[in-house]
Symmetry: C2
Subunit: 306 residues, 2 copies
DNA sequence: CGCTTTTAATACCCACTGGGTATAATTACG
DNA sequence: CGTAATTATACCCAGTGGGTATTAAAAGCG
C-alpha cells in the first residue's frame, strides 16, 4: 500500500465517480480503477459498491474515508512540524546561565527569544554546581552564558565549543553602605587590601575567580577570604550584612540592593566578559535561532544602554 | 512522497545505520540512501547528519520521526476500522419497532446484539406515527420490527424490502379483571360482540388492524370501536380502566398488568407474526450482523420459551 | 603512521509497474 | 429501442525503484 492508493481512494470517495476523480487527479480512468481495486484487494474489503452506472461507498469505505482524512492531516502536521523544526521554530533550548546574568542580560534575551520563537520551550537552568562547560559537551545544555576572564588571560576553552561575547561590562566593588569608601566614587583596589573578601569558589568559576585574584594581585595584595558563595544574590547579601567586600559585574548596579553600595574600580582591566558557549559540531536550528536573536539583542538593546 | 519514503525514513531513524536499515527492509543500501535523499529534497530539509562513519537525526528528523509514528498509528487504525466496519463490528444501526415488541422480543435481541457487537451504536426508535416501511426505503431506518397479518392474508410488502419472521405468537383478549369473562379461560370472540373495543388505527398499522377485523368478522360481528390508540401501553391502560376490550399479542402476558386479565382466543388464526424488515439492495454489514444475531436469538432463546 | 575495516555515496543497469490509449460491456434515459 | 454515460478489460510503453559493482572517506588498530 502506498500513499498513492489512499489519495486516489479519497478522490473517488469524494467524487463518487471514477471519471471525474481521475480528471481531478490528472490521470486516466482505467489506471485509477485498477489502483482502487488493488487497494481493495490488499485490504481484503470492498470500499465501493459499483454498478455500471453508479458508485457508492460501502460502510467500510465510508469509515476508511474519515479515518484517512485524519491520517493525511497527521501527515501534513508531521511535515509542517519537521520544517518548522528545521527553522528552529519548534523544539527545546536548554540554557544554562550564571546567576549574575539573571538580572540584566537574561531577561532581555529571553523576552526577545520567546517573542520571536514562541513555540520553542526555553528551559532556564540557573547556574549551580552542576553547570560547567562539560554540561554543554555532554549534551545536558544547549547554550551556556558564562563569565570568563578577559583576553589575553582567557584560557583556551574546551575544543568543540564556540563562543560569542554577549556583554563587556565594568566590574565594580560591592560593599556595605556603612563602609568607609561607600559613596566616595571610584576606588583603587589597594584601598581594600586589608578588608575581608567574599569570593566565588575557583573550582566552579575558574575564569572569573582567576580574574579577581589577578586584579587584586596587580593592586599589590592577595585578598583575605572571609567567605565563599556560589550565587550572586548570596554574595550581595553577605556584603549587605557587612561580612566583607566583593567584586561583582556592574550590571548589578541597575538593581536596588538595600544596604549595599557599588563603586567603580580604577583599573582598565576591571572589565568582565559574559560569553555565550555552544557546541560547534551539531548545528542545531534552535541554537542557531537563539544565537541570531542574541546577536540582535546584543547589537541593539544592550548597546543602547551602554 | 509515498509511504515507502516514510517507512524507509523510520527504519533509518531507528537503526541510525543505512546498512542495517536496508537489511531490515530487505533491500540493498544504495537505493535506500537514494530514497532518503529524495525525501529530504522533497521536504526541503535535512533529516540526517551523515558523516562517512555515523548517521544522526537532525532536529527536523527527530520531530518527523515521532510525528510519523503517530501517522502510521493512525493509518493502522484506519485500516483496522475499515475492516471491522466491513464485518459489521462498528457502525450504527437504526432499529424501529412496534411498541408491542418492546416488552419481550426487543430486550432479548438488543441484549444479544450489544454483547456480540459492543461497538455498534444501536439506535432504538419506538414506533410512533412516523414509523412506516417507507422509513426503511427512505433510509431513515435500517431495520424495522413490524407486526403483519398471517399468510395468506399478508399483503405483498413493498418491493425492495426483505423480511424475516421473528416470532409467531398467539393473540389474546385483554379485558379488565372485573370483566365477566376474566379468569374463565379461552374465549370465543363471538362472546365479545357486544363489548366496546379498543383498536389500533388502520392507517398506522394496516396489517395488524386488518387481522383483528377479520378475526371478529369470522366470529360473526364487527367490533364497535370505543377508542383508538397507538401504543400498546395506552391500549392496556384503557383496558384496565374498563373502557373496553382489545386483542393484543400473547407475549404481553409475561408482564404483570394490574387490573387486566388476558385470555386465549379459541381460533386457529389468532396468531400474530412479528417480522423484521430491511432493505434488500444495500447489503450493510451491520444489518447482516444484526440479522445473524436475530436468527440466533429466534432459534434459541425465543424458541426455548415457547 | 599506514593498513584494514566499516560505511555511505556514486555509477550504471534492468525488470516491474504505474499510467496511457483503445475498446468492450453494461445500464440509464430520452 | 437507440444513444449517451460510465466502468471494466486488454494491451503497451516509459519511468523508476531497486540491484550490483565500485568509490571515497573516516575510524580503528597494530
Amino acid at each position: 500500500m502506498e500513499l498513492r492508493h489512499l489519495r486516489y481512494f479519497l478522490a473517488v470517495a469524494e467524487e463518487l465517480h471514477f471519471g471525474r476523480a481521475a480528471e481531478r487527479l490528472n490521470m486516466a480512468q482505467p489506471p485509477l480503477s485498477k489502483q482502487i481495486r488493488d487497494l481493495e484487494q490488499e485490504l481484503g474489503i470492498g470500499l465501493f459498491r459499483r454498478t455500471k452506472r453508479h458508485v457508492a461507498l460501502t460502510a467500510a469505505g465510508s469509515t476508511l474515508q474519515v479515518e484517512l482524512q485524519r491520517m493525511f492531516a497527521q501527515l501534513d502536521h508531521a511535515v509542517l512540524s519537521a520544517q518548522r523544526a528545521s527553522r528552529g521554530e519548534i523544539g527545546r533550548l536548554r540554557l544554562g546561565f550564571v546567576s549574575s546574568a539573571a538580572y540584566h542580560v537574561l531577561p532581555a534575551i529571553s523576552r526577545a527569544f520567546r517573542a520571536a520563537y514562541p513555540d520553542v520551550v526555553l528551559e532556564l537552568h540557573e547556574q549551580t554546581a552542576d553547570f560547567r562547560p562539560e554540561s554543554l559537551l555532554e549534551g545536558t545544555l544547549d547554550i551556556g552564558l558564562y563569565r570568563v576572564d578577559l583576553p589575553p588571560y582567557r584560557p583556551a576553552l574546551d575544543s568543540g565549543l564556540r563562543t560569542m561575547t554577549v556583554l563587556r561590562e565594568p566590574l565594580v566593588v560591592a560593599m556595605a553602605d556603612s563602609h568607609r569608601l561607600a559613596g566616595r566614587g571610584p576606588v583603587d583596589l589597594a584601598q581594600l587590601a586589608a578588608d575581608p573578601w567574599i569570593l566565588i569558589p575557583a573550582q566552579i568559576y575558574p575564569g572569573f575567580h582567576a580574574q579577581i585574584l589577578r586584579l587584586c594581585r596587580t593592586a599589590g595584595f592577595t585578598p583575605r577570604v572571609a567567605q565563599e558563595a556560589f550565587l550572586i544574590q548570596t554574595i550581595v547579601g553577605l556584603v549587605a550584612a557587612g561580612i566583607g567586600v566583593a567584586i561583582v559585574p556592574g550590571s548589578l548596579r541597575q538593581l536596588c540592593w538595600p544596604g549595599v553600595a557599588m563603586e567603580p574600580i580604577r583599573s582598565p582591566e576591571a572589565l568582565s566578559d559574559l560569553v555565550a558557549l555552544w557546541r560547534q559540531d551539531e548545528d542545531s536550528p534552535v541554537v542557531s535561532a537563539f544565537l541570531r536573536t542574541l546577536e540582535r539583542v546584543v547589537s541593539c538593546d544592550l548597546a543602547n544602554e551602554a
